[in-house]
Protein backbone atom coordinates (compact mmCIF):
# COMPACT_ATOMS: atom_id res chain seq x y z
CA UNK A 1 0.00 0.00 0.00
CA UNK A 2 1.38 3.38 -0.94
CA UNK A 3 -1.35 5.52 0.57
CA UNK A 4 -0.43 6.90 3.97
CA UNK A 5 -3.84 7.06 5.60
CA UNK A 6 -5.61 3.93 4.66
CA UNK A 7 -9.41 4.08 4.86
CA UNK A 8 -10.98 1.72 7.35
CA UNK A 9 -11.80 -1.50 5.57
CA UNK A 10 -15.47 -1.72 4.64
CA UNK A 11 -17.77 -3.47 7.07
CA UNK A 12 -18.20 -6.39 4.69
CA UNK A 13 -14.46 -6.92 4.51
CA UNK A 14 -14.07 -6.78 8.28
CA UNK A 15 -16.98 -9.16 8.82
CA UNK A 16 -15.48 -11.56 6.36
CA UNK A 17 -12.10 -11.45 8.11
CA UNK A 18 -13.73 -12.06 11.50
CA UNK A 19 -15.74 -15.03 10.27
CA UNK A 20 -12.64 -16.36 8.56
CA UNK A 21 -10.67 -15.96 11.77
CA UNK A 22 -13.28 -17.67 13.93
CA UNK A 23 -13.73 -20.43 11.38
CA UNK A 24 -10.00 -20.71 10.94
CA UNK A 25 -9.75 -21.21 14.65
CA UNK A 26 -12.25 -24.08 14.57
CA UNK A 27 -10.43 -25.60 11.62
CA UNK A 28 -7.09 -25.18 13.38
CA UNK A 29 -8.34 -27.53 16.10
CA UNK A 30 -9.25 -30.22 13.58
CA UNK A 31 -6.85 -29.95 10.67
CA UNK A 32 -3.56 -30.82 12.42
CA UNK A 33 -5.25 -34.07 13.49
CA UNK A 34 -6.52 -35.17 10.07
CA UNK A 35 -4.01 -38.02 10.07
CA UNK A 36 -5.89 -39.57 12.98
CA UNK A 37 -9.20 -39.06 11.17
CA UNK A 38 -7.82 -40.87 8.14
CA UNK A 39 -6.55 -43.75 10.28
CA UNK A 40 -10.03 -44.01 11.75
CA UNK A 41 -11.61 -43.86 8.28
CA UNK A 42 -9.31 -46.50 6.83
CA UNK A 43 -9.69 -48.90 9.77
CA UNK A 44 -13.46 -48.45 9.64
CA UNK A 45 -13.66 -49.00 5.88
CA UNK A 46 -11.56 -52.16 6.19
CA UNK A 47 -12.69 -54.00 9.29
CA UNK A 48 -16.34 -53.25 10.12
CA UNK A 49 -18.78 -56.07 9.30
CA UNK A 50 -19.70 -54.47 5.95
CA UNK A 51 -16.07 -53.54 5.17
CA UNK A 52 -13.46 -54.98 2.82
CA UNK A 53 -11.85 -57.35 5.35
CA UNK A 54 -14.43 -57.83 8.10
CA UNK A 55 -12.60 -58.68 11.29
CA UNK A 56 -14.27 -58.55 14.65
CA UNK A 57 -11.21 -58.10 16.81
CA UNK A 58 -9.67 -55.38 14.66
CA UNK A 59 -13.02 -53.62 14.39
CA UNK A 60 -12.88 -53.11 18.14
CA UNK A 61 -10.54 -50.23 17.41
CA UNK A 62 -13.25 -48.24 15.65
CA UNK A 63 -15.30 -47.16 18.63
CA UNK A 64 -12.45 -46.02 20.92
CA UNK A 65 -10.80 -44.17 18.03
CA UNK A 66 -13.82 -42.05 17.31
CA UNK A 67 -15.20 -41.71 20.82
CA UNK A 68 -11.94 -41.06 22.66
CA UNK A 69 -8.92 -40.42 20.47
CA UNK A 70 -10.40 -37.92 18.02
CA UNK A 71 -12.25 -35.70 20.53
CA UNK A 72 -9.25 -35.79 22.87
CA UNK A 73 -6.95 -34.68 20.05
CA UNK A 74 -9.33 -31.84 19.22
CA UNK A 75 -9.66 -30.77 22.85
CA UNK A 76 -5.90 -30.99 23.31
CA UNK A 77 -5.15 -29.02 20.16
CA UNK A 78 -7.79 -26.41 21.04
CA UNK A 79 -6.26 -26.03 24.49
CA UNK A 80 -2.73 -25.80 23.10
CA UNK A 81 -3.77 -23.02 20.71
CA UNK A 82 -4.92 -20.94 23.68
CA UNK A 83 -2.31 -21.70 26.31
CA UNK A 84 0.45 -24.03 25.11
CA UNK A 85 1.12 -27.41 26.66
CA UNK A 86 -0.60 -26.52 29.94
CA UNK A 87 -3.69 -25.47 28.03
CA UNK A 88 -3.56 -28.72 26.09
CA UNK A 89 -3.42 -30.81 29.24
CA UNK A 90 -6.29 -29.00 30.93
CA UNK A 91 -8.28 -29.07 27.69
CA UNK A 92 -7.80 -32.83 27.41
CA UNK A 93 -8.91 -33.51 30.98
CA UNK A 94 -12.00 -31.39 30.44
CA UNK A 95 -12.72 -33.11 27.11
CA UNK A 96 -12.98 -36.43 28.96
CA UNK A 97 -16.00 -34.93 30.74
CA UNK A 98 -17.94 -34.27 27.55
CA UNK A 99 -16.89 -37.65 26.14
CA UNK A 100 -18.33 -39.49 29.13
CA UNK A 101 -21.44 -37.32 29.05
CA UNK A 102 -22.65 -38.72 25.74
CA UNK A 103 -22.86 -41.96 23.79
CA UNK A 104 -22.04 -40.22 20.53
CA UNK A 105 -18.69 -38.71 19.48
CA UNK A 106 -18.23 -35.32 21.13
CA UNK A 107 -16.49 -33.20 18.54
CA UNK A 108 -18.33 -29.95 19.07
CA UNK A 109 -18.14 -30.45 22.81
CA UNK A 110 -14.37 -30.82 22.59
CA UNK A 111 -14.19 -27.71 20.42
CA UNK A 112 -15.98 -25.75 23.16
CA UNK A 113 -14.53 -27.06 26.38
CA UNK A 114 -10.91 -27.56 25.24
CA UNK A 115 -10.17 -23.91 24.51
CA UNK A 116 -12.48 -22.70 27.30
CA UNK A 117 -10.59 -24.67 29.95
CA UNK A 118 -7.27 -23.49 28.54
CA UNK A 119 -8.49 -19.91 28.67
CA UNK A 120 -9.39 -20.26 32.36
CA UNK A 121 -5.97 -21.78 33.01
CA UNK A 122 -4.34 -18.87 31.22
CA UNK A 123 -6.28 -16.33 33.28
CA UNK A 124 -5.45 -18.18 36.48
CA UNK A 125 -1.76 -18.36 35.59
CA UNK A 126 -1.63 -14.68 34.76
CA UNK A 127 -3.19 -13.80 38.11
CA UNK A 128 -1.40 -16.27 40.37
CA UNK A 129 2.00 -17.11 38.90
CA UNK A 130 3.63 -13.75 39.70
CA UNK A 131 2.72 -14.23 43.37
CA UNK A 132 4.12 -17.73 43.87
CA UNK A 133 6.90 -17.98 46.43
CA UNK A 134 10.21 -19.14 44.98
CA UNK A 135 10.47 -22.90 45.11
CA UNK A 136 6.73 -23.53 45.07
CA UNK A 137 6.19 -22.99 41.32
CA UNK A 138 5.99 -26.66 40.40
CA UNK A 139 3.69 -27.51 43.28
CA UNK A 140 1.30 -24.67 42.45
CA UNK A 141 1.39 -25.25 38.71
CA UNK A 142 0.75 -28.98 38.92
CA UNK A 143 -2.04 -28.69 41.43
CA UNK A 144 -3.72 -25.76 39.72
CA UNK A 145 -3.77 -27.64 36.39
CA UNK A 146 -4.99 -30.82 38.08
CA UNK A 147 -7.70 -29.14 40.10
CA UNK A 148 -8.92 -26.87 37.30
CA UNK A 149 -8.84 -29.78 34.84
CA UNK A 150 -10.83 -31.94 37.24
CA UNK A 151 -13.41 -29.23 37.82
CA UNK A 152 -13.75 -28.63 34.08
CA UNK A 153 -14.16 -32.38 33.45
CA UNK A 154 -17.07 -32.40 35.90
CA UNK A 155 -18.45 -29.24 34.31
CA UNK A 156 -18.15 -30.91 30.92
CA UNK A 157 -19.87 -34.03 32.15
CA UNK A 158 -22.79 -32.28 33.80
CA UNK A 159 -23.27 -29.05 31.81
CA UNK A 160 -21.39 -28.71 28.50
CA UNK A 161 -21.83 -32.33 27.44
CA UNK A 162 -25.61 -32.50 27.76
CA UNK A 163 -26.08 -29.05 26.18
CA UNK A 164 -23.81 -29.81 23.21
CA UNK A 165 -25.36 -33.26 22.81
CA UNK A 166 -28.77 -31.61 22.54
CA UNK A 167 -27.47 -29.07 20.02
CA UNK A 168 -25.65 -31.59 17.81
CA UNK A 169 -28.63 -33.92 18.08
CA UNK A 170 -30.84 -31.07 16.89
CA UNK A 171 -28.49 -30.17 14.03
CA UNK A 172 -28.22 -33.82 13.01
CA UNK A 173 -31.99 -34.15 13.03
CA UNK A 174 -32.15 -30.97 10.96
CA UNK A 175 -29.81 -32.39 8.34
CA UNK A 176 -31.74 -35.67 8.31
CA UNK A 177 -34.97 -33.72 7.90
CA UNK A 178 -33.53 -31.72 4.99
CA UNK A 179 -32.46 -35.00 3.36
CA UNK A 180 -35.91 -36.50 3.92
CA UNK A 181 -37.62 -33.41 2.53
CA UNK A 182 -35.27 -33.47 -0.47
CA UNK A 183 -34.15 -29.95 0.42
CA UNK A 184 -30.54 -30.68 1.27
CA UNK A 185 -29.18 -29.56 -2.16
CA UNK A 186 -29.97 -26.02 -1.02
CA UNK A 187 -26.90 -26.15 1.24
CA UNK A 188 -24.83 -25.54 -1.89
CA UNK A 189 -26.28 -22.03 -2.01
CA UNK A 190 -24.32 -21.33 1.15
CA UNK A 191 -21.37 -23.68 0.83
CA UNK A 192 -20.13 -22.81 -2.66
CA UNK A 193 -19.99 -18.99 -2.26
CA UNK A 194 -18.55 -19.35 1.25
CA UNK A 195 -15.80 -21.63 -0.02
CA UNK A 196 -14.62 -19.04 -2.49
CA UNK A 197 -14.28 -16.52 0.34
CA UNK A 198 -11.73 -18.92 1.86
CA UNK A 199 -14.21 -20.22 4.40
CA UNK A 200 -13.78 -23.75 3.07
CA UNK A 201 -11.88 -25.11 6.06
CA UNK A 202 -14.17 -23.35 8.50
CA UNK A 203 -17.25 -24.89 6.92
CA UNK A 204 -15.89 -28.36 6.38
CA UNK A 205 -13.93 -28.90 9.58
CA UNK A 206 -15.84 -26.48 11.80
CA UNK A 207 -19.36 -27.63 10.95
CA UNK A 208 -19.73 -30.47 8.45
CA UNK A 209 -17.13 -32.90 9.83
CA UNK A 210 -18.45 -32.81 13.42
CA UNK A 211 -22.00 -33.33 12.12
CA UNK A 212 -20.90 -36.12 9.81
CA UNK A 213 -19.06 -38.00 12.52
CA UNK A 214 -22.29 -38.14 14.47
CA UNK A 215 -24.30 -39.76 11.70
CA UNK A 216 -21.39 -41.92 10.55
CA UNK A 217 -21.42 -43.49 13.98
CA UNK A 218 -25.11 -44.27 13.74
CA UNK A 219 -25.43 -45.37 10.12
CA UNK A 220 -21.87 -46.18 9.03
CA UNK A 221 -21.58 -43.26 6.62
CA UNK A 222 -22.44 -39.59 6.31
CA UNK A 223 -23.51 -37.48 3.36
CA UNK A 224 -22.28 -34.28 5.05
CA UNK A 225 -18.65 -35.31 4.51
CA UNK A 226 -19.29 -34.95 0.77
CA UNK A 227 -20.80 -31.46 0.70
CA UNK A 228 -17.60 -29.44 0.77
CA UNK A 229 -15.02 -32.07 -0.13
CA UNK A 230 -16.58 -32.97 -3.51
CA UNK A 231 -13.94 -31.91 -6.04
CA UNK A 232 -16.48 -32.06 -8.89
CA UNK A 233 -17.72 -28.44 -9.03
CA UNK A 234 -14.19 -27.02 -9.00
CA UNK A 235 -13.07 -29.50 -11.65
CA UNK A 236 -15.87 -28.43 -13.98
CA UNK A 237 -15.01 -24.76 -13.56
CA UNK A 238 -11.31 -25.31 -14.17
CA UNK A 239 -12.08 -27.36 -17.28
CA UNK A 240 -14.29 -24.56 -18.58
CA UNK A 241 -11.52 -22.01 -17.88
CA UNK A 242 -9.06 -24.24 -19.70
CA UNK A 243 -11.20 -24.45 -22.84
CA UNK A 244 -13.03 -21.13 -22.86
CA UNK A 245 -11.43 -18.83 -20.28
CA UNK A 246 -9.30 -15.74 -20.77
CA UNK A 247 -5.77 -16.32 -22.02
CA UNK A 248 -4.11 -16.38 -18.59
CA UNK A 249 -6.59 -18.95 -17.26
CA UNK A 250 -6.08 -21.17 -20.27
CA UNK A 251 -2.37 -21.34 -19.58
CA UNK A 252 -2.59 -22.22 -15.90
CA UNK A 253 -5.79 -24.30 -15.74
CA UNK A 254 -4.27 -27.70 -16.62
CA UNK A 255 -1.81 -27.54 -13.74
CA UNK A 256 -4.53 -26.24 -11.47
CA UNK A 257 -6.77 -29.17 -12.42
CA UNK A 258 -4.18 -31.70 -11.27
CA UNK A 259 -3.51 -29.87 -8.00
CA UNK A 260 -7.22 -29.45 -7.36
CA UNK A 261 -8.60 -32.84 -8.33
CA UNK A 262 -5.76 -35.09 -7.22
CA UNK A 263 -3.92 -32.91 -4.71
CA UNK A 264 -7.19 -31.79 -3.14
CA UNK A 265 -6.23 -28.13 -2.73
CA UNK A 266 -9.52 -26.49 -3.63
CA UNK A 267 -8.14 -23.01 -2.94
CA UNK A 268 -6.50 -23.12 -6.33
CA UNK A 269 -9.76 -22.57 -8.20
CA UNK A 270 -11.11 -19.79 -5.98
CA UNK A 271 -9.15 -17.03 -7.77
CA UNK A 272 -10.67 -18.05 -11.11
CA UNK A 273 -14.08 -17.43 -9.57
CA UNK A 274 -13.04 -14.21 -7.85
CA UNK A 275 -11.76 -12.93 -11.20
CA UNK A 276 -15.09 -13.78 -12.86
CA UNK A 277 -17.72 -13.74 -10.11
CA UNK A 278 -20.52 -14.87 -12.42
CA UNK A 279 -18.88 -18.31 -12.44
CA UNK A 280 -20.09 -18.74 -8.86
CA UNK A 281 -23.40 -19.76 -10.46
CA UNK A 282 -21.60 -22.67 -12.08
CA UNK A 283 -20.12 -23.71 -8.73
CA UNK A 284 -23.55 -23.57 -7.08
CA UNK A 285 -25.20 -25.50 -9.93
CA UNK A 286 -22.46 -28.11 -9.82
CA UNK A 287 -22.58 -28.36 -6.04
CA UNK A 288 -26.38 -28.73 -6.00
CA UNK A 289 -26.21 -31.40 -8.70
CA UNK A 290 -23.61 -33.32 -6.73
CA UNK A 291 -25.56 -33.14 -3.49
CA UNK A 292 -28.77 -34.16 -5.31
CA UNK A 293 -27.10 -37.23 -6.76
CA UNK A 294 -25.53 -38.07 -3.39
CA UNK A 295 -28.94 -37.70 -1.74
CA UNK A 296 -30.89 -39.78 -4.28
CA UNK A 297 -28.31 -42.57 -4.39
CA UNK A 298 -27.68 -42.65 -0.65
CA UNK A 299 -23.99 -41.81 -0.98
CA UNK A 300 -21.82 -41.19 2.05
CA UNK A 301 -18.31 -41.42 3.43
CA UNK A 302 -17.17 -43.19 6.60
CA UNK A 303 -14.97 -40.26 7.64
CA UNK A 304 -13.99 -36.78 6.49
CA UNK A 305 -12.06 -36.61 3.21
CA UNK A 306 -9.21 -34.19 3.68
CA UNK A 307 -7.77 -32.75 1.57
CA UNK A 308 -10.71 -32.78 -0.86
CA UNK A 309 -8.88 -34.89 -3.41
CA UNK A 310 -10.58 -37.65 -5.36
CA UNK A 311 -8.00 -39.99 -3.83
CA UNK A 312 -8.95 -39.02 -0.27
CA UNK A 313 -12.66 -39.19 -1.13
CA UNK A 314 -12.38 -42.71 -2.53
CA UNK A 315 -10.18 -43.84 0.37
CA UNK A 316 -12.99 -43.18 2.87
CA UNK A 317 -15.80 -44.43 0.64
CA UNK A 318 -17.49 -47.47 2.20
CA UNK A 319 -17.44 -50.77 0.38
CA UNK A 320 -20.24 -50.87 -2.14
CA UNK A 321 -20.56 -47.08 -2.03
CA UNK A 322 -18.32 -46.21 -4.95
CA UNK A 323 -20.93 -45.86 -7.67
CA UNK A 324 -23.02 -43.23 -5.82
CA UNK A 325 -19.96 -41.23 -4.78
CA UNK A 326 -18.30 -41.29 -8.20
CA UNK A 327 -21.63 -40.54 -9.90
CA UNK A 328 -22.10 -37.46 -7.73
CA UNK A 329 -18.58 -36.19 -8.43
CA UNK A 330 -18.95 -36.69 -12.19
CA UNK A 331 -22.43 -35.15 -12.28
CA UNK A 332 -21.21 -32.12 -10.33
CA UNK A 333 -18.21 -31.66 -12.63
CA UNK A 334 -20.33 -32.02 -15.76
CA UNK A 335 -22.97 -29.51 -14.69
CA UNK A 336 -20.50 -26.93 -13.42
CA UNK A 337 -18.50 -27.33 -16.63
CA UNK A 338 -21.56 -26.78 -18.81
CA UNK A 339 -22.83 -23.80 -16.83
CA UNK A 340 -19.38 -22.23 -16.66
CA UNK A 341 -18.82 -22.75 -20.38
CA UNK A 342 -22.15 -21.13 -21.10
CA UNK A 343 -21.30 -18.17 -18.84
CA UNK A 344 -17.97 -17.80 -20.61
CA UNK A 345 -19.83 -17.75 -23.94
CA UNK A 346 -17.87 -20.81 -25.03
CA UNK A 347 -14.78 -18.65 -25.44
CA UNK A 348 -16.35 -15.85 -27.46
CA UNK A 349 -15.89 -13.30 -24.72
CA UNK A 350 -12.21 -14.17 -24.24
CA UNK A 351 -11.54 -13.99 -27.98
CA UNK A 352 -13.24 -10.60 -28.19
CA UNK A 353 -11.16 -9.21 -25.35
CA UNK A 354 -7.94 -10.51 -26.85
CA UNK A 355 -8.79 -9.03 -30.25
CA UNK A 356 -9.59 -5.71 -28.63
CA UNK A 357 -6.26 -5.77 -26.85
CA UNK A 358 -4.40 -6.62 -30.03
CA UNK A 359 -6.11 -3.78 -31.87
CA UNK A 360 -5.19 -1.43 -29.04
CA UNK A 361 -1.55 -2.40 -29.11
CA UNK A 362 -1.51 -2.16 -32.90
CA UNK A 363 -2.86 1.39 -32.75
CA UNK A 364 -0.36 2.65 -30.19
Amino acid sequence: MTTTDEPRPAFKERARASIQRFGGYLAAMVMPNIGAFLAFGLITALFIPTGWLPNESMAELVDPLIRFLLPLLIGYTGGTLVHGQRGGVVGSIATMGVIVASDSPMFLGAMVIGPLSALLMKLFDAAVQPKIRAGFEMLVNNFSAGILGGIMALFGLKVVGPVVAAITGGLGTGVAWLVDMRLIPLVSLIIEPAKVLFLNNAINHGVLSPLGVQSAEETGKAITFLFEANPGPGLGILLACWFFGPKISRATAPGAIIIHFFGGIHEIYFPYLLAQPKLILAAIAGGMTGVTVFMLTGAGLVGPASPGSIIAVLAVTPRGGFVPVVAGVIAAATVSFLVASLLLGFGRQARKEEQAKERESAET
Partner: protein, 103 residues
Amino acid sequence: MSNTINGSDVRKVVIACDAGMGSSALLKTQLAQSLKPYGVTVEHTAVNAIPIDADVVVTQAGLAGRARKSAPDTPVVTFQMFLGDPAFTKLEAAIRDGADIDG
Protein backbone atom coordinates in the same frame (compact mmCIF):
# COMPACT_ATOMS: atom_id res chain seq x y z
CA MET B 1 0.54 1.95 7.12
CA SER B 2 3.10 0.40 4.87
CA ASN B 3 6.21 -1.69 5.38
CA THR B 4 9.18 -1.83 3.07
CA ILE B 5 12.21 -4.04 2.85
CA ASN B 6 15.00 -4.10 0.32
CA GLY B 7 15.09 -7.29 -1.70
CA SER B 8 18.74 -7.92 -0.87
CA ASP B 9 17.94 -7.96 2.89
CA VAL B 10 15.34 -10.70 2.54
CA ARG B 11 16.45 -13.91 4.22
CA LYS B 12 13.11 -15.55 4.99
CA VAL B 13 9.87 -15.51 3.04
CA VAL B 14 6.78 -16.86 4.79
CA ILE B 15 3.76 -17.99 2.80
CA ALA B 16 0.54 -17.88 4.77
CA CYS B 17 -2.81 -19.53 4.12
CA ASP B 18 -5.87 -20.23 6.24
CA ALA B 19 -4.74 -23.51 7.75
CA GLY B 20 -1.06 -23.36 6.80
CA MET B 21 -1.30 -26.85 5.35
CA GLY B 22 -2.71 -26.76 1.83
CA SER B 23 -2.17 -23.93 -0.63
CA SER B 24 0.72 -22.40 1.31
CA ALA B 25 2.58 -25.71 1.22
CA LEU B 26 2.03 -25.88 -2.53
CA LEU B 27 3.48 -22.40 -3.04
CA LYS B 28 6.34 -23.12 -0.68
CA THR B 29 7.48 -25.92 -2.97
CA GLN B 30 7.42 -23.56 -5.93
CA LEU B 31 8.97 -20.47 -4.34
CA ALA B 32 11.65 -22.37 -2.44
CA GLN B 33 12.96 -23.57 -5.76
CA SER B 34 13.01 -20.20 -7.47
CA LEU B 35 14.46 -18.33 -4.45
CA LYS B 36 17.09 -20.88 -3.47
CA PRO B 37 19.88 -19.31 -5.58
CA TYR B 38 19.58 -16.09 -3.52
CA GLY B 39 20.02 -17.79 -0.14
CA VAL B 40 16.40 -17.14 0.85
CA THR B 41 14.54 -19.71 2.92
CA VAL B 42 10.82 -20.18 2.38
CA GLU B 43 8.36 -21.42 5.01
CA HIS B 44 4.61 -21.93 5.10
CA THR B 45 2.35 -21.23 8.07
CA ALA B 46 -1.22 -20.50 9.06
CA VAL B 47 -2.11 -16.85 8.60
CA ASN B 48 -2.77 -16.47 12.35
CA ALA B 49 0.69 -17.78 13.26
CA ILE B 50 3.19 -15.89 11.12
CA PRO B 51 6.63 -16.16 12.77
CA ILE B 52 8.25 -12.96 14.04
CA ASP B 53 11.44 -13.41 11.99
CA ALA B 54 9.66 -13.34 8.63
CA ASP B 55 11.10 -10.69 6.29
CA VAL B 56 8.28 -10.88 3.76
CA VAL B 57 4.83 -12.44 4.02
CA VAL B 58 3.17 -13.77 0.87
CA THR B 59 -0.57 -14.46 0.91
CA GLN B 60 -3.67 -14.59 -1.26
CA ALA B 61 -5.46 -11.23 -1.54
CA GLY B 62 -8.50 -12.65 0.27
CA LEU B 63 -6.40 -13.29 3.38
CA ALA B 64 -4.36 -10.07 3.26
CA GLY B 65 -6.35 -8.37 6.02
CA ARG B 66 -5.68 -11.16 8.48
CA ALA B 67 -2.03 -11.39 7.46
CA ARG B 68 -1.48 -7.66 8.08
CA LYS B 69 -3.11 -7.96 11.49
CA SER B 70 -1.03 -11.02 12.34
CA ALA B 71 2.28 -9.49 11.17
CA PRO B 72 1.80 -5.70 11.37
CA ASP B 73 5.50 -4.82 10.92
CA THR B 74 6.25 -7.06 7.93
CA PRO B 75 5.62 -6.29 4.27
CA VAL B 76 2.73 -8.40 3.00
CA VAL B 77 2.88 -9.28 -0.69
CA THR B 78 -0.46 -10.37 -2.11
CA PHE B 79 -1.31 -12.40 -5.18
CA GLN B 80 -4.50 -13.43 -6.93
CA MET B 81 -3.74 -16.65 -8.77
CA PHE B 82 -1.90 -19.59 -7.24
CA LEU B 83 -0.27 -20.43 -10.55
CA GLY B 84 1.47 -17.93 -12.81
CA ASP B 85 0.67 -14.77 -10.84
CA PRO B 86 2.90 -11.80 -11.75
CA ALA B 87 3.38 -11.10 -8.03
CA PHE B 88 5.71 -14.11 -7.76
CA THR B 89 7.93 -13.03 -10.66
CA LYS B 90 7.99 -9.51 -9.24
CA LEU B 91 9.03 -10.76 -5.82
CA GLU B 92 11.76 -12.90 -7.29
CA ALA B 93 13.04 -10.01 -9.40
CA ALA B 94 13.08 -7.69 -6.37
CA ILE B 95 15.10 -10.19 -4.36
CA ARG B 96 17.48 -10.79 -7.26
CA ASP B 97 18.01 -7.10 -8.08
CA GLY B 98 17.79 -5.72 -4.56
CA ALA B 99 14.72 -3.60 -5.27
CA ASP B 100 12.31 -2.40 -2.59
CA ILE B 101 9.39 -4.62 -1.64
CA ASP B 102 6.32 -2.75 -0.34
CA GLY B 103 3.25 -4.16 1.24
